[in-house]
Amino acid sequence: MNNQPELVLLKNRRPDRPATIEEYRAGGGYAALAATLGKRSPQEVCQLVLDSGLRGRGGAGFPAGRKWAGVKEDAEFPRYLIPNTDEMEPGTFKDRVLVNADPHLVIEGIILSAYAVSAGKGIFFIRPSYEMDAELIERELEVARDAGFLGGNILGSGFSFDLEVHRSAGRYICGEASAQVNAIMGKRAHPNKEVHMAHQGLWGKPTIVNNVETLSCVPGILRQGPEWFKGLARTESGAGTKLYCVSGRVCKPDVFEMPIGTRLSEILDLAGGMCPGAEFKAVLPGGASTEFMPKKFYDVEMDFEPLKAVGHRLGTGAIIVFDKNTCLVGATLNLIEYFARESCGFCTPCREGLPYIRDLLWRIEIGEGKEEYIPLLREMARHMDRSYCAFAPGAAAPVLGLLNYFEEEIREHLSQKKCPYKGLGIEFRDSLIPMEKTESTAPENS
Amino acid sequence: MGWLAGIILLLIKLGVVLVVLLTAAAYLVYVERKLLSRLQIRLGPNRAGPFGLLQPLADALKLLTKEDLVPEGADRFIFLYAPGVVAASALLIFAVIPFGRGWMFMGHEIPMVVSDLNVGLLYVFAFSSLGVYGVALGGWASNSKYSLMGGIRGVAQMISYELSLGLSLVPVVMLARSFSLVDIVAAQAHYPFIVLQPVAFILFFISAGAEIKRIPFDIPEAENELVAGFHTEYSGMRFGLFFLGEYVTMVVLGSLVAVFFLGGWRGPLLPPLVWFSIKVLAVVLVLIWIRGTLPRLRYDQLMHLGWKVLIPLGLINIVVTGGVLLWWGS
């Protein structure tokens, strides 16, 4: 296209290898660092980021500046910054691409953010499957340290910050900020809503947990100003660019950096459109923990606010595309299977309710569904909202999407007593409690 | 020596009457149970002796050998003597009832009545009223709420019905012009008073039924409300005395009906004693039939019947009888 949008995050992306520090610096990298450390006060940095309207890219979309402002000036030291790269949301792979494309952009963003909250220590929390990326980051951290961007008294500014890589033990829930902090502390990775991270996070000290994509936006903001950043967006409410991961039945699945607010149709076009012979049916707009969007939302602006306005969430911006030949009940069952397995087991609705939903979906899928399962599913999914953290509501989102837009498809399963599509196509692992067909069982007193 | 012979004669008569009456009462229980069971398509007592004929004996033995319980807090003296009052008053009424034609023996006419009082009818009333004391005192002395309520009900019922009982007999006295029961029987030489006084007969029959507290008037001992009413707390032979009293009263009632309305011992062909027995038995059987048929009245229905129906009816009957007598007599 003619008006090829400005690339901010993937500017230095190369097909063969990650950008080196030299390449990064050649493109103006670390300039923001030099211009900020010791020259601007942390409060100013905070304010700039707040002004830029940067919102968290990890899924919840909380304004980064507001989060940082939660750490009060007189808060305790040391303070911690945790760049969250525990990317386990199905369909999301943007952080990996980002880290692999331009590790120093990420590092600079982290240092600048740490400066904004006066954190002395950063812990790069990375998914265990990203072992190569962890090694890459560790390598590049050494490079950055040698260049004087990390460690004590960075660039003579008097600001000290060091960053180390922590490999997760590999649970989806570790992506949740408070669970992540617990995990780092060696506790069970349970979310903790009792305390506020900005006051009592890691080891009881103020802690900021941000997605790496969010943090990677910071150098740009500081270098070119919040107005520029705001201007990147295609919508009024949005700011900056967004990494959209497109997967599913499209010709060219990939991560695309587009201005936030780019229309879904446009993104799908970038991904080469639907596969030959496939016809668009639905899309998950922001990873597995968002609702299905049917065809009528084909042209929606992919930004936090416009999606919210139509009852959807941007999530991580991971677009998963389903075509006419995919059984959405089966697809949802696949997702629920994953979520039920990954539940931390802390609160009841999530621990017991998700397997229940999975059981109902499974029965519908294999043709044993009953009419009363539909209201039961709806109730059950609705009650997931009252679980301890956002995990269960997220897990229930595709179910709600399925019920809201594709109830007909469920009814087809019920009336045909089998899956009208190819069938399951997914493999069931028996670490979860296996399910049994109804014939041999009668309800009994419990 | 006449007085001595009189006393001996009296004692013999007393003895015979007592034995006959008590045996009759005991077997009346048997007859009642047997008849009732047949009315209800059951068999009735059939285990003690042939046809269960020894049942009254077994009952008596049982009652005699049972423990005599006195409830805690009971008024002991009254409690122990109340059943006696009931039984004795019932037995004593029979003293004035003529049960046969006078019998000539060694030149003396021996009247077939224990004692021919010229105020016999008043005597009957007096003793039937005394029976109330047994019920009232027994109920009160038991120190039990059921007994007390039974006693109170009994008193109220018996006093109420005594009025209509009395009123129903006034025409009889007017006809016989005597209070003596012997004279009353004598007055029925030609036709029994039932023919002249059907209303009085019905009044008397109903009132007497209420007086002896039998179904449908057994409100003082209504089982399903008061367990056993005034004799709830009694056991053994003391209970037996209450029981005896009731059945003796039944015989007495039969006799009174016979005397007042059915011409007493009079009757063709058969000896007077037999006639008398037949009449008494007939009344008693009707009483049993009633018991087997009718349900118990409610307390207010009972009072309603006594005060609003029977007493006015009795008064009217007296006035009518009086009027007729005046007109007829003149």
């Binding site: 397995r341 670490s431 409690i433 049994e436 009994e444 | 047949r38 209800q40 059951r42 068999l43 048929t293």
Partner: protein, 184 residues
């Protein structure tokens, strides 16, 4: 006056009813009594009649009673007492079990309360004794060698507690969770 007419009607009706009543009882006199004379003729009782209590066994010939105390708790006259104990294989059973039949009112609440169908009432009602103490029945008096009204039911196949063998062997149970596995 209609009122008067009504009253007359009522009196007549009453009289007729009275006569009908007396007539009914009177003709009953001549009907054959329906009484069944008990010791000579023993009437067969329906299987759900409530009389003497038994303790039944499950199809594996084990005692069904697990001594859960529910029958004694439900007994309105407190005539059931027992002591539970543990067998070597972990199965719960009654070390002793006693029903005082001199107190029992045969209400059947124990049978209703029994979760294992162990305690059951039978139609056998001829249990009179002259000595009250002989009416106190012990487990050995109560235990029978059949399943009573339901021969098939076996509580321990549903219980979900280990008796012998591995967990997860009961009806509608999954294999035990593998604690040491970290597989997804």
């Amino acid at each position: 006056m209609p009122g008067e007419k009504n009253r007359l009607l009522r009196v007549t009706e009453g009289l007729v009813a009275l006569i009908q009543g007396f007539w009914t009882t009177f003709i009953h006199l001549f009907r054959k009594p329906i009484t069944e004379e008990y010791p000579e003729y023993k009437r067969p009782l329906p299987p759900r009649s409530r009389a003497r209590i038994i303790l039944t066994r499950d199809p594996d010939f084990e005692e069904r009673c697990v001594a859960c105390y529910l029958c004694s708790a439900s007994c309105p006259v407190s005539c059931i007492s027992m002591q539970s104990a543990e067998r070597a294989d972990g199965r719960r059973y009654a070390a002793w079990f006693r029903i005082n039949f001199s107190r029992c009112i045969y209400c059947g609440l124990c049978e209703e309360a029994c979760p294992t169908l162990a305690i059951q009432l039978t139609p056998d009602f001829e249990t009179c004794q002259y000595d009250l103490l002989t009416l106190v029945a012990e487990k050995e008096d109560l235990l029978v060698d059949h399943g009573g009204k339901n021969q098939e039911y076996n509580y321990y196949r549903y219980a979900g507690v280990l008796v012998d063998g591995d967990k997860g062997g009961h009806i509608q149970e999954a294999r035990p969770v593998n604690l040491k596995s970290n597989l997804p």
